[in-house]
């Protein structure tokens, strides 16, 4: 019998794409659906998904939990758990449209929640850690329930199928966001589990990733020391946890996160390319955070509460192109998908391996859109 | 010019240099044949043994050249800094044997002529046989 994510490790090739508008102007989800459609060949119909930021302005202060259930029993258990830990402001099924190419759908629910103040206080954790722990607990402990999106004013939509069909299924044309990312998957076997599709997310971090990292088990065994559980055994999951650990828990800026996970080579450090202070810092990273170095091919787009970061592995073993038009930045596996979104670009370039592209909302947009 | 030097700290007095030297200059294709057919070949290098210190001695190719000056037939000469013997001209007077302050000139196995170290210029390409055969780098061939 075929094993699904979490029971075995499944390598996959992929397509990724995404864009962000720095001024916080919201764009319709249909744009990103079209963008991935032209990279159809890079997926094989076994997984697709989207992340949209700024899509829930009316519930921007609540955590939006998107949950897959295999059974109503799992839903009852999970809702009981949620009721014990959260104040559920709104709950509903996520509206979908029947699509002949999307089948075997689980129950898909959405909850807008606030942590219960008493529970939060008892836990002695900060709010985000509390929510993250709850999400990890549901995914780890409740059979048949899987929280696949848990940030504020953002959401993940994913399924087994080609990404353009997934977009149609979730009716993404009904959502507007200031940033979108998408993932089309090409796994090497056919598990057909919806939770295994990407993006992978924790809180407002989402990752779309193309590649197969060779450092996986070194990274996994390290990060699991810090309360994470890698249930899916996928690269995307472990990369998300690494970024969550470094960026959210340690407070490391994303520029430095990139220096940890795609660290410059020793030869680059010795070449005098970096300032003495940076050289010393990178040496420290390579000593202390050496187990978080990611090797093997990857191109990722990380979404977070006020921006996107794109990063290639340090040898650039996966294609990734970036482009700019006005206040919008595009990133994709292939130029064609960027041209689909915006044929007339100001600038297009191929980022170097290990050099991150970090785009954040402008200051006033951050205040307007709200984190 | 590269010459053979000894480092007495590392000489084990194993005497292998003597055997490699003798075999290399015997004209035989290998050591077994060199020593097992006819008279034993005589080495041009000799290990001096003491209680704590040992070292190999062969022609220093020195500045004094008493041997060259004393040679009555002109068999000994200096070519590119190497003291060599033209065996066809040696008459076996042994003047050189007596005059060498290092005792480095020896009488060949037939007892008619002298023979001496020529840094293996006549038999080997590259390093002299004693240097190649030394197991402990006690004999080296180098520029000093």
């Amino acid at each position: 019998m075929l094993q699904r994510e979490g029971e075995t490790r499944i390598p996959a090739g992929c397509a990724i794409s995404g864009f962000i508008n720095r001024s916080g102007r919201r764009t319709n989800g249909s744009v990103i659906v079209n963008s991935i459609g032209c990279m159809h060949e890079r997926s094989n119909g076994l997984g697709g998904g989207f992340a949209g930021y700024g899509i829930y302005p009316e519930y921007k202060d609540q955590y939006a939990l998107h949950v897959f259930y295999d059974s109503s029993e799992a839903r009852i258990k999970t809702e009981a758990f949620l009721d014990r830990h959260f104040d559920v402001v709104n709950l509903s099924r996520i509206p979908v449209r029947k699509n002949p190419n999307i089948t075997d759908e689980p129950l898909i629910w959405r909850y807008f929640v606030n942590p219960l103040p008493t529970k939060l206080q008892d836990s002695q954790l900060d709010e985000r850690t509390f929510v993250a722990r709850c999400v990890i607990k549901v995914n780890d402990k409740i059979d048949g329930a899987y929280v696949f999106s848990s940030g504020k004013n953002m959401g993940v939509f994913k399924a087994v199928g080609y990404p353009e069909d997934v977009g149609d299924f979730y009716r993404l044309e009904e959502y507007d966001g200031w940033a979108w990312t998408v993932h089309g998957r090409y796994p090497t076997n056919t598990p057909g589990w919806w939770g295994g599709a990407h993006p992978f997310s924790l809180l407002d971090y989402t990752i779309v990733h193309n590649g197969e990292i060779s450092s996986y088990d070194a990274n996994r065994r390290f990060i699991e020391m810090f309360g994470y559980k890698c249930n899916l055994l996928t690269d995307t999951e472990v990369i998300t946890y690494i970024i969550d650990y470094l960026n959210r828990r340690i407070g490391m800026p994303l520029e430095d996160v990139a220096k940890v996970i795609a660290s410059p080579f020793w030869s680059e450090l010795e070449s005098g390319k970096f300032s003495p202070e940076d050289t010393e810092k990178i040496r420290h990273f390579r000593n202390v955070y050496s187990s978080l170095l990611i090797t093997g091919p990857f191109s990722i787009i990380l979404g977070f509460n006020n921006g996107l970061m794109a990063l290639n592995d340090r040898l650039k073993l996966r294609s990734m192109v970036a482009a700019e038009k006005g206040d919008t930045v595009y990133i994709s596996s292939e130029e064609c998908s960027i041209r689909t979104m915006c044929p007339d670009l100001d600038r297009i370039w191929s980022p170097r391996g290990g050099e991150p592209i970090i785009v954040t909302l402008d200051k006033d947009a951050q205040e307007r859109v709200g984190k | 010019m590269k010459k053979v030097y000894v480092n007495e700290d590392w000489c084990l007095a194993c005497h292998l240099c003597e055997f490699y030297c003798a075999a290399a200059n015997s004209g035989a294709p290998d050591m077994v044949k060199a020593f097992k057919s006819g008279k034993k070949p005589v080495p041009r290098i000799q290990v001096e043994e003491g209680s704590d210190v040992n070292f190999a001695v062969q022609c220093r190719h020195c500045d004094g050249k008493a041997c060259v000056k004393g040679c009555i037939t002109g068999a000994l000469s200096i070519k590119d800094g190497v003291v060599v013997c033209d065996e066809s001209r040696c008459v076996g007077c042994y003047t050189c044997v007596l005059s060498c302050p290092f005792g480095c000139i020896v009488i060949d196995e037939e007892g008619h002529r002298i023979q001496k170290c020529d840094l293996c210029t006549k038999n080997h390409d590259g390093e002299p046989a004693c240097v190649q055969g030394c197991p402990n780098k006690a004999i080296v061939f180098e520029e000093r």
Binding site: S214, S267 | F19
Partner: protein
């Protein structure tokens, strides 16, 4: 004359067609096996004392010699083997404890050989080490310092002492006394050239070698030989030796006949007296005492040097390692039951301790389960025989490895396992001046550098095949390993899957 119950272990086969009677065998055998008989004009042998060190074979210019196991046999018996019977005869003759040297030679499982490595195919690319950077630099020490950022985004972090290794291979502890001064010099020079470290063992540091201090690990063992402030300050790190894989639970004994002027001066003990290291450190009867010694040594060296605690792989090694990790030590070194020794009681060497592969896997998993793997680096030794063993050790979870037997082999040792006799024909495990001289550090250091350089190349090839271009991404990466022919229990302990899974 009493009956000799035992037979020679070896036969000297001399091909008289080849032998030219150059007598190099005779001159080079400290055991006086070979002798030229002028009356017979031939070489003769006294095989009783032959240890099969191969010195004569290697130096014979005509390849006339072979040393073979003696074909003479006691009556075959699977239970009472020849060796078992020999040992009884030996003890019946001497009344003493049997002594042996080097690692456990018994036919017990070698897990390295039951573990296979992965390589990239299709879904991700192998990396060519000849064309792309391939990194094997390793840091040893605590990795739990953390980092904070101020409001301007400037990073603030403390640095605790660490060792920086250009290759994840160090030379394990061998004392001056158990090995010769020339052997020590060779290791020190090779470590310096390789950008790694060698270990003084418990014999102190010869005054000539202080100049190699930046690449020296100074050991403090139960005998405290040669330990004083200058010694502690001399090295890059200090290792507290709690145990040794070859002889867990017992100390050491360097006989007085080996304590010559130099060793006496270096160990700071009178010439000619036996140097006996007690089985325990008499100031460490429990884990809290170890903590005090760790802190004392740090205090004595101004908190500038990492402290290594070396333990033997014994049954509850994971729990012990956990205790050590909490003792303030920066690095744990674990020595497996195949690790070498200059001398150990045979019964201890052959029956005490566990394989390093299992110990390493158990320790690494335990430290991770407890969330304290970052508090220490893990170094393993005890028969790391090749670059493949190094790669497997690191993938199981080690930060670096210690090698000693391989290093001795590089210098000429042929594993005759007679170090305890002090008559090492290769000039390694001896203090006899005429024998020590046989090891020229110019040659031995170069051979050590060659060995480790070759292994480094091979490590890089294997890493590249796995699509890994930095050694830190291999550390603890057990997905890169598969077992063959192992039981489920063994796989569980190793934390790896079976081939085909």
């Amino acid at each position: 004359m009493a009956i000799e119950f035992m037979n020679p272990l070896f036969e000297v086969i001399r091909d008289s067609d080849r032998c030219i009677k150059c007598r190099v065998c005779e001159r080079q055998c400290a055991n006086e096996v070979h002798k030229y008989d002028a009356d017979l004009d031939k070489m003769i042998s006294n095989e009783m004392t032959c240890v099969d060190c191969q010195r004569c074979v290697c130096l014979c210019p005509t390849h006339a010699l072979k040393i073979r196991p003696n074909e003479n046999q006691f009556r075959e018996n699977a239970n009472w083997t020849h060796q078992t019977m020999d040992e009884v005869y030996k003890q019946a003759g001497s009344g003493g404890v049997l002594l042996s040297a080097m690692g456990n030679p018994k036919d017990l499982p070698v897990y390295w050989d039951r573990i296979l490595l992965n390589a990239s195919q299709v879904t991700n690319p192998p990396i060519d080490p000849l064309r792309e950077p391939m990194e094997t630099k390793t840091f040893l020490g605590k990795k739990n310092q953390g980092i904070t950022y101020d409001e301007n985004g400037k990073a603030h972090y403390d640095k605790t002492p660490y060792l920086e290794l250009d290759v994840p291979i160090m030379f394990s502890a061998m004392s001056f006394g158990s090995i010769s001064k020339n052997a020590h010099e060779s290791l020190a020079r090779a470590a310096t050239e390789l950008g790694t470290f060698y270990n003084t063992g418990e014999g102190g540091l010869h005054r000539d070698f202080y100049k190699y201090g930046a690449n020296t690990i100074c050991q403090v063992a139960s005998g405290r030989f040669g330990v004083f402030k200058g010694y502690l300050d001399a090295g890059a790190a200090i290792e507290i030796k709690m145990g040794q894989g070859a002889k867990p639970g017992i100390g050491g004994h360097l006989p007085g006949m080996k304590i010559n002027d130099e060793i006496s001066r270096t160990r700071m003990i009178p010439k000619g007296t036996d140097a006996i290291s007690p089985a325990p450190h008499h100031d460490i009867y429990s884990i809290e005492d170890l903590r005090q010694l760790v802190i004392s040594l740090k205090e004595a060296t101004n908190w500038e040097k990492p402290i290594i605690v070396k333990i033997a792989a014994v049954h509850n090694v994971a729990a012990i390692a956990s205790g050590v990790a909490r003792s303030g030590a920066d690095i744990i070194a674990i020595d497996g039951f195949r690790g070498g020794t200059g001398a150990a009681p045979t019964r201890i060497r052959d029956n005490v301790g566990i394989p390093i592969e299992l110990a390493l896997a158990a320790v690494d998993s335990r430290l991770r389960d407890e969330g304290i793997r970052n508090d220490v680096s893990v170094v393993v030794g005890g028969s790391v025989r090749s670059a493949a063993d190094v790669v497997k050790a690191i993938a199981l979870g080690a930060d670096a490895v210690y090698i000693a037997t391989s290093a001795l082999l590089a210098m000429g040792c042929h594993l005759c396992r007679s170090c305890n006799t002090g008559k090492c024909n290769w000039g390694i495990a001896t203090q006899r001046a005429d024998l020590v001289k046989r090891l020229n550090p110019d040659i031995a250091a170069e051979r050590l550098v060659n060995l480790v350089t070759a292994w480094d190349h091979e490590i890089k090839e294997m890493m590249g095949g796995m699509g890994i271009n930095s050694i830190e991404a291999l550390r603890g990466n057990r997905l890169m390993l598969r077992g063959v022919g192992l039981t489920q229990k063994e796989l569980d302990i190793l934390g790896i899957q079976h081939a085909g899974e």
